[in-house]
């Protein structure tokens, strides 16, 4: 079973993403900010990271930049999700190392389609 790390400071958002992904057969773990996500990601390799942008302690950009410095785990794809839809925000996300930038609120089919695409689970 593929394992996804959902990183968001909002408990409701984490639960929403968890429900969507678990219903589709994925295993999900959570982190509440970039620091906790780094601690988890450097101990265990996940297949995909769903990363919020604005979080206390370490934001999504900071997490991805640091995460991508570790060559052994840089291959795992990351979806950045944010309330900010500007071109500048997206450019920052991709520069930090995101494979995809989605704007909240995400619809279940949208999250699942991109998850399957990035994980090679497309039928």
């Amino acid at each position: 079973m593929k394992h996804i790390l959902v990183i968001d400071d909002a408990a409701t958002v984490r639960l929403y993403h968890r429900n969507i992904l678990e219903t589709a057969g994925y295993s999900v773990s959570e982190a509440i900010n970039g620091i906790e996500a780094l601690e988890k990601a450097l101990v265990k390799s996940y297949d995909l990271y769903v990363v919020d942008v604005n979080m206390p302690k370490l934001d999504g950009y900071g997490f991805l930049k640091e995460f991508r410095r570790h060559e052994d785990i840089t291959q795992a794809p990351a979806i950045m999700v944010s309330t900010e839809a500007g071109t500048h925000d997206k450019a920052l996300g991709y520069a930090a190392g995101a494979n995809l930038y989605l704007t909240k609120p995400i619809k279940p089919n949208e999250l699942l389609s991109y998850t399957r695409l990035l994980l090679g689970d497309v039928a």
Partner: protein, 211 residues
């Protein structure tokens, strides 16, 4: 073979005795522009005791690139807490730098007296991102009016993500008083699955909490 000079790295040390020596405002402002981050940090700490320092610290914040000095300035502004200091912190909410925005939010959460007079303006800002950050500030703001501010947001704000952010917080702090506004929000954003999910969750938590 080339001769390599043994160069001693140029390290500026801050003598503790120098720092505690009496220093006037002008001297500290000059030190705030030092190349040495340690000196700048000490200057910020000493300026925190001077009520006239807010505008100087706000000006420095705009181009300070050392994270520890920046954190010191943000905390100093929260400590000073006057109109200039709070306005300087609020201006960070409009920054393109996500780290600076988030640091400012965390500091403003700890300054309820300074935030209270301006929170309505922030919650009605033309920029939806600033309104979202204003809701984020309410998260830890110990103020009796937090629930009512959040209810006002979900009743009136036209932007789905501003409402969604307020909804996340109402899930934690909402009481029965929020129920009508929550039900109305679900109707207003009927095509957004996340809003429906969050409203149901908030209603469940409120009902469980009332029993």
């Amino acid at each position: 073979m080339a001769i390599v000079k043994n160069q001693t790295p140029h390290i500026q040390c801050v003598n503790h005795d120098e720092r505690i020596a009496e220093r006037d405002f002008e001297g500290l402002v000059e030190e705030l522009n030092s190349d040495n981050p340690t000196e700048r940090r000490w200057a910020v700490r000493d300026l925190t005791k001077m009520p006239e320092a807010s505008s100087t610290l706000v000006a420095r914040l705009k181009f300070e690139d050392d994270a520890s000095v920046r954190a010191a300035i943000l905390n100093a502004l929260a400590h000073l807490g006057d109109n200039v200091a709070i306005a300087g912190l609020v201006s960070c909410l409009r920054s393109e730098d996500a780290a600076l925005r988030n640091e400012a939010i965390e500091v403003l959460k700890e300054a309820p007296e300074g935030v209270e007079p301006i929170i309505n303006n922030l919650l009605n800002d033309a920029d939806s991102d600033v309104r979202i950050f204003a809701v984020n500030i309410l998260e830890s703001l110990r103020h009796n009016n937090v629930e009512q501010w959040l209810i006002n947001v979900i009743e009136k704000d036209p932007h789905v993500n501003v409402c969604a952010t307020a909804l996340d917080l109402l899930s934690e702090v909402g009481t029965e008083h929020s129920i009508p506004a929550l039900k109305q929000l679900k109707i207003r954003f009927v095509s957004e699955p996340y809003i429906g999910f969050s409203v149901d969750l908030a209603l469940k938590r409120i009902e469980e909490g009332s029993h």
